[in-house]
Amino acid sequence: MSSKPMTGAEALIKCLENEGVEYIFGLSGGAALPIYDALVDSRIKLILVRHEQGASHMADGYARATGKPGVVLVTSGPGATNTITGLMTAHMDSIPMIVITGQTISSMLGKDAFQEADVYDLSMPVVKHSYLVKSTTDIPRLIREAFHITSTGRPGPVLIDVPKDFSAGPFEGDLYPEMDLPGYKPEDRQINKDDALAIAEAINKSRRPVLLVGHGALIAGAQNAIMQLAEKIKAPVVTTLLGKGAFPESHPLSLGMLGMHGTAYANKAVAECDLIMSIGSRFDDRIIGKPDMFCHNATRIHIDIDPSEFGRMIPCHHYCQGDAREVTETLLDHVAQLNTTEWLSTLEKYKKRYPLTYKQRGGLKMQCILDELNNMLGGKGIVATDVGQHQMWAAQFIRSEKPNTWLSSGGAGTMGYGFPAAIGAQFGRPQEQVWAIVGDGGFQMTMCELATASINHLPVKVIVMNNRYLGMVRQWQELFFDDRKSGVDLEGSPDFAKLAECYAPALGLTLKRSADIGKMLKRAMDYNDGPVVINAMVEKTDNVFPMIPAGAPLEEMLIKEPRKNTKLEKPTGST
């Protein structure tokens, strides 16, 4: 190291190293030049992306797969605004992530300077917190605070906007300063023992309990405690889309996912239970259907680290604020073994009567591919999805057995998420097999990242479920808008297998017949020099069931395709 003084950028990178950052996902530009320059001498690996949205989803996928915050570094203006979708995606799903944006020099702020975007204000509704750096000296403190905020309490993304004069300027000050966060005290919150006891008492009176396990359980690392609780009180477990992996789906007490496209038996269990206890779910509108009908005769219990979730969607009888793991462990000491034999045998009947099925005849089906993939994975590997029909079928057919192996954009439903998220996950967990299940629509939003996967020789395996439609939207149009198709035909998409081949060493495969599924998946599994893209020419117009129309009570679930020409009311729920 030379004796010239450190720059703000060098201090910033040093601080990131101290936080244990391994990778930065990003793309440079004028306002970020000093920081990119400082990266040259750093042990942190820079992953150059092809679009900043991709960088933000990679950081998100990295975070979901490892539990550690993902880090993004982009330039000002368009570079910064390109991360907004990724910030919103992470914010909706409580994902730890740091986005560092270059900014024009501080004296030019507010003057519509070249590539000035007021990203601090633009991003405010989609971040947990954000900073506009006001002096070089502040940089280490802000970085420390940002990492603390993003990963503690209820996680969420933090943005740091760094004017170029502060990154380029000489740094003076402390690299290990104290944090100054008098208003932020997530660790102060003690579990209220009385709340926990009241909940235990309610559980002990229940004959038909259901545990609703959400993403908060994964964030808390509560899987063992939940397993013990479920087995002790012999309660069935349903998970949300984002809770997949918090309870092994092969376990006899698992009913899989509930909600709009959940299993029929999960939704029936929820509709018929006498007690439902949410552990780290936020009762999203995609699971409660019609709010005042949701479990209206059952005792409703809500455990969450964020008290602002209490009563937001539905009122509950008991609330307990705290970490899912701590609360569940506390409850374990106070619940009795319940006799739920009758309840479990009712649910067993539902499992037999309404299994997840699909027609074995006809063309290539997404369900069939996913079913076979699930069998071949045997609970191993990491699966990332995009958004649409393929996502819902993946949620149904891929059984998640372990935490942090299921990556899906839930709250935002961001098309284009799946592939870059898989890339991020592969960086974070190089030993795991990572699959991306994407639609032909969503893949085209971020498929430029094939270059990123290829140059880094990432063996990410992508299945493009190519139904030539924006399938999920087409399904709604068919069911609720008299099949009047409006803007859903994806005519003109490229041959995704050929496309992949353009990104050597990527491998492109085409899957047309059901009989070839096993062989094709095997080829993909065995190829490790770069990404694999399987272009799966699936049936064009299949629909996802079960389905609870948005805003309808769970009792009105359509378990299978309604008869042709059945007139369905337009859904009243939000979306």
């Binding site: 601090y120 204000d121 405010m124 509704p125 947990k128 917190h129 954000s130 506009l132 006001k134 905020i149 100054d180 966060l181 008098p182 208003g183 932020y184 005042d292 964020d306 008290p307 602002s308 209490f310 009563g311 937001r312 009122p315």
Partner: protein, 169 residues
Amino acid sequence: MNMKNNTETIHTLSVYVANKPGVLARVAQVFARRGYNIDSLVVSPSMDGRYSRMTIAAKGSLAGLDQIIQQVSKLVDVIHCTDHAFDSAVVKELALIKVAVSTNERTEALQVCEHFDAKTVDLTETSMIVMVTGGSEKVDACTGMLKKFNVVELVRTGKVVMARGGDTT
């Protein structure tokens, strides 16, 4: 939390915040997202210069208010947020009212001022500025009475609030 409470009422919230950039925007955003209208807003430094006090009077349903308090409280730079709608607190505001009064109307105008314990802080041949302090009802009433003259301008500070006795705001 109670879904029945949908009637709109005015609430006075006191928000104690760390003196950091952006905190006002963040607080205001919570109100706007939940469809609350901010009637008045007073921000002032507290005794300890690192913190500021915001007093926010806002109109909306009681059902949404709980949510707002929770969401404001969880902002990183907010120390705490309390509603002073029901507990006993001193709630005051100040208004400056410029009234155009001719010399022969002046005595009557001054009588109104005297009644409300208001002061004239500026006086010319043709106009006067009245300063009135007190609870919002009193300020409303005083302004109302002065309307029989020609009110040229009205500026109100908005409410400030402080908990009574040993309680802290």
